[in-house]
Structures are given as C-alpha cells and as structure tokens.
Symmetry: C2
Subunit: 421 residues, 2 copies
Amino acid sequence: MAYGGFRELASLNYVMSSVKSLLKHKPRVVTVDLLEALGRFLAEDVTAHINIPPYNRSVVDGYAVRSIDTFGASLSNPVILRVKAFIRVGESPEIEIGPGEAVEVSTGARLPRGADAVLMYEKTRRLGDIIEVLEPVPPYGNVSKIGEDIREGEVVLRRGMRLMPWDIAVLASLGLKTVNVYEVRVAVASIGSELVELDNIQDIREVLDKNLVVNSNKYSMIAQLRSSGFTPHYIGIIPDNIDEIASRLREAIAEYDAVLTMGGASVGKVDYTIEAVRRLNPEILIHGVHMRPGRANSIAVIKGKPVFMLSGFPVASIVGFEALVKPILLYMVNGNDDPKPKIKGILTRRVNTPINVRSYVRVRVYRKNDGIYVEPLALTGSGVLSTLVRGNGILIVPEDREGYDEGDIVEVTLLREVFEG
Amino acid sequence: MAYGGFRELASLNYVMSSVKSLLKHKPRVVTVDLLEALGRFLAEDVTAHINIPPYNRSVVDGYAVRSIDTFGASLSNPVILRVKAFIRVGESPEIEIGPGEAVEVSTGARLPRGADAVLMYEKTRRLGDIIEVLEPVPPYGNVSKIGEDIREGEVVLRRGMRLMPWDIAVLASLGLKTVNVYEVRVAVASIGSELVELDNIQDIREVLDKNLVVNSNKYSMIAQLRSSGFTPHYIGIIPDNIDEIASRLREAIAEYDAVLTMGGASVGKVDYTIEAVRRLNPEILIHGVHMRPGRANSIAVIKGKPVFMLSGFPVASIVGFEALVKPILLYMVNGNDDPKPKIKGILTRRVNTPINVRSYVRVRVYRKNDGIYVEPLALTGSGVLSTLVRGNGILIVPEDREGYDEGDIVEVTLLREVFEG
C-alpha cells in the first residue's frame, strides 16, 4: 500500500516562486492614525513637504554670532560682542544681529537673522551685556541647518516599509496625522471534529477524557499574524466534512485577502481540507512541502489569493507560518521580514536530518565558560510545544545537508535570550 | 563660566546599580485574556495541572498494535493481525486489543488499551479485515506518550517571561483562559512651551513659522513602550514652568508605576524638569549620563518609583529609552530583554567617540560582493531622526574605547534588514 496522500513533496523554493507568480489580488489600503500604524506596512512612498529643521537652529545653549566676528579670538586676545537679547526655543522675535553683536540662545532656538554660528557658553566670558569670545567658531558651528535632517521634496519613507517607532515620529514631525498602510485580512480557521474552543470549556479534564482537543493553535496563529503586522479574522472551527470545509473556505476566499487553515491536512486517509480546496478550482495546489516538521503544510492559490493549509500539529503550524505564510504575506505588501536575532554556537550532539528537506530543529542555546553551546531538543515531535517553550532557538538545516556533527559551529535563530549555564 | 548644569555625568553601569537598589514599588498584576497577553510579562510561575498529551496517542496514520506481536515480522515472513476497528482523532471508543489484534488509527488518535505502538501504513499490507505486518515496531514506536510534552506538576512558564505566540498556545492547551501579567503603567509627558500637539495642528507651515515644534517624541515613545510590553499613559504637554512641572509630576508619581518626561532636561540655563524633580525629594537624582547622544538623559527615584527625564532631542530620547528606561522597567517585572538581531561588518570610515562615554552611532549596513559593510551615518546630531530612518543599524561603542578604525570588524544591532549594494 502506498504511503498516504503525498505523491511528491515540493521544495520551499519551488513553493515561493510558483505561488508568488499566481498572486493577483492586492490587499486593501487603509488610512490609520499614527499610533495605529506601528508595525504596519506603508502603502505609499512618503515625500516631505517641508524642511526639517525648518530653519537654522542652535544645537547648544550659548550665543548666536556672526562667525566672521570671532576669527582670531583667543584667551589672551578675546573679541568683545554686545548681547542684544535672549531667544528661547519656540520664541520668534524679530531680531537681526550686525557686526559686533550676539544673541543668547537656548538649544533648539531659531538663529536670529545675520547669525551663522553659535558659541557655547564655555567659549565665552560674560560681563553684563558684553561677552568676551575666547575662541573662534567656524561658519555653521553648533548650528543645525535648514533641511539638514529632511529636505523638502525628498522621499523619506518607502512603500512596503514596516513602520517602526522612529518612522512614526518622522511622520509626526512632518505634520501628518494619518498614514496609508496595507491591511492584509487573513481568515483563520481550525479544522477538526475533535477540536473544542477554549472559551467553551468548563473543565479541561472532561474535555480530555472525551479524547477531544483544545483548539490551541488558534492562539499561536493569531498571535503570530498580529505580531508580524497582519490582521487575523478568526472564523471558527470547521468539522471534518469536505462539503462544509469547501463552503466555508469559498466564503472566506471571497471576503478576505488570504485564508489559513490548521488541521485536516495530514498524511492519512482522511485529508478533508485538501479535498475541499481541490473542489474550489485552485490555480495551483501544492500538497505537502519538503520541510520538517510540517511536511503536511500545503498551499493553494484561488482567485489570485493564497490559501494556506497548515498541519494541525502545533510546532508544524508555527514553523509553517514562518516558512510559508509570512514570506507570501510580506510579498503581498512589498515588505521585508524583520531581521532575526542569530547566534553562533557549538553543537553539543549530532543532528540527523533528511536530505532535500529543510529541517527546523528546536534547540537550547546556553553560555558556559565563555562558550556558546547549542543543544538539540527535538528532531521530531511536531506536536511537542514544550520544546519551543523550554528551548530558546531554532536551528535551520538546509536542504543540501543531512544534519550537523557534534562540535560543528552552527548558526541559530534566537527566540529568547541565551541561557546562562 | 562653568559649562551648563552637569557637574559630573554618571556611567550607565552606575545608573543601573544605584537606581535598581532604590526601586521599592511593584507594578500591579492584572488578569488578561490569552490574546491580550501577547508580549506581556508573566506575573507568576505557571504549573501544569494536566499531562500533555493526556494519554498515549498515535503520531502517524496506521495500525495500533501490541509491539510484541510484530517481533520477527518481515517481508518474506509477515505477521498476520486482525483489524478490529478504526479510531479517528477525537473519538473515544471503548476498545481493547489482545494478541493478534490491531486497530486502525488516524494521527492524534488515542491508543486503544493493550496497544503500545503504531505501524505506519507502508509497513503493512491490507487484505480485508487482515493486515500483514512487514516489519517489527518497537514499544512506543510512533507513539506520543502521556506527559511527553508537559508533565503534570511541572513548571511550564516562569514569572518574568515575555509571552510569545507558542507560550500562549501552551496556556490554551492547559485549558487556561486567562493569565496574570504585570501591568507597568508609564506616565509620559512632553515638556516645553514650544511644543504643539499634532492633533491641534491645522497647517504645519504656520506652526513652523511661529518657531513652534510638533510634539513628535510622544509618538516614538508611546510606540517604543508598547512594543516592549509596557503600558504608556500620555498625560500631555507641560509648559516650561517649574511649579507646574513639579505639580504634574507629583500627581503622576502618585498614580503610575513610572514617569517619563521628554524635554526640559537640557544642559543650559533653563533646566526646568531637573529643578522640578529636585523639589519632589527624590531618593536619588542623576543628572546626565555618559552616553552620546543623550548625555542630558537623567533619572530619579521618587517614592520607590523611577522617574526618567529624557532629552527632547528625538534620537537622544529614542536611544535613552533603550539604554536607560527599558532595562529599569524590565527589572521591575523580573524580565529579560528580547534578543536583538546583530551582524558583523567592515567599518567603511573611522568613528571617533569620546572615552568614558557609551556612544550610539547610527549606521547603514549593506551587502556588497559578499561582504557586509558598516557605514557610519551620524556621530552627532541627536536631533537628526532621518539617520534612523535612512540607516538600519546602531553601532554601540563602549566606554573603554575612543571609537573604531576604518576596516575594523564591528558588531552592529540591526533595526532593519541589511541593504543590498
């Protein structure tokens, strides 16, 4: 008897190139307030319509001067200037300085007309309305020039950038109250007649006694989507019934930008989700990929939108999100993934992985006697969530390797900080 | 004339140890739904009150058997077993197998009593109600044992852990609907009579013509606090008036777990925030730290709570958050910082930094001809936000160095992915 439903698994590279070429749907653009924009993907280039700073301003506390007046000044031969006024940041007095004049300014204050530099207090000696300049200051010394930070007309932020705190501050500095970002609405469904919603549970032991399973994948997936800048819409549990799955997925595909299921995409006789998706006339249907855990993870394109069918095994779906879902959703918004924290360490035990498969090995990274060590926790066991919780890293073994030897230096993606000892 | 208000700057290490020893206040513990818990800090150890899996279950599709029955089986000499039933995941039939018997199971299904292993389909040949076993399976082969993932009584998650997607899934698997997390409520105020709220602006050019400044720091600070797992409460702009600052800060200290101001903590004559805080009888007041940018960043402890007084310069306040605020807030929740993405590259130009100062140099990291290069963007200019937006990394130069030479290999914290070319 042939083994299960997988005839030929697809490589992750093949999945990416073939699926991307078929995605015709574009996610919607929404206008959001700045504080709602954190972590979202910019839907347009942002061009500055003003200069920042909008005028020459002082970057220190001191005296605004004509730099030419200070040339040749020294401790033994100070230049004398007359202080006309004090300009604080935010004030806009109509003051101009001429030869022999200075204006006291606070940090951030606009330079008075005529001034082109600022002397710090310590380079001067104050005597009533007079200062002695003890050192020369060059033109634009201690001055932030108009447009030095951002030039009017310049493209400051580009479409597809994921907005970070400082990007939001730049938008505010430009006087923009809202910003256009992509909204990628992802329908999330859990498939399996054995599943029970956490909210409906009175006593977990009763659930387990009936051999039912808490729908915990829902939580990790919604959390992964949110923290990656996408917008999950949970549409519920669908029982193991091909008609019902097909009908619910058809609706979801019409309504959302992407659809994601967990469960019902296994290796066995009972492969409801795949059969349901087959009925929806996919442009492409890739059943199973060369990854481990998660070889049951599958993907289709229907009406130009991606449909992800992830394994019901917790770790397989979590890794499937990183390997399959996130790259495709990022592609839809022209975005790049955030950089990942990585660390190199010494492998404490041989890791065996199959050739032609990308393997995601959960590991524990620790520091001991100034060395960094990588201890493999689980090679199999795609259901064993605790390895992600007890461990703090993932070692990705690429397709062209059959693992790593004990003592090899390997690079690991860190999920939490390195453990001590 | 003496230079400004800084007599002696404090090292960051001194700040951390002296401030931490004075923090007596504990943030409150709140009970939140699981999906609200993402990125928050756990306020208690979580102990498993059940086993996961709750029973021995199959990790493949195939036949549950007594392993002892399969010993000696081979292609030429198969063992014959009778198939009694089919158990799907979620089903709980009262079935027991005896010698010579098997039960067909789907992945995740509970093993029937008597069975201790599962044969994958490909190791069998089906003939009606009979299977031929073509290979032996060891005890617990293809079985996920009770408690293998999580043992009843085991501490699964520890106080202070920042909750990640998989942690939330573990809590759900344990049947927990809510979780106790710390809530660190941080009052955020912007100080400066020159500031205008973005929301009150009609035309940014009018604001700039009056030499007023948009309160953009508010946005980056709220975003930084939120994305680090803390809870900002913005309390508004306070004008440059020592009485008013003192009164608003007194209220905020009574109400919140920490207080953070931006602006009004400069080097100059006008140092409103520091003077206001001095009036509130701080247990400690550290005015200025050996960091650059951000030497004006200051910190106090009042009534056992931290009061951060950050520079009004955008980059100085952003860096001040990372260097001063975040470590202290993490300490209050017993938390560790997330690991940061780092990369090594070749410095394209000498960087000069002062000795005894921790310098945060904004850099642009790019890949060219297989090499990674680090181009310094700004050594000074703590107001120049665009360097954070155009760049993609921060090079931290420690206190014991006066910079790095062109060609040095340096390690950089990445804010965005490495640029190409």
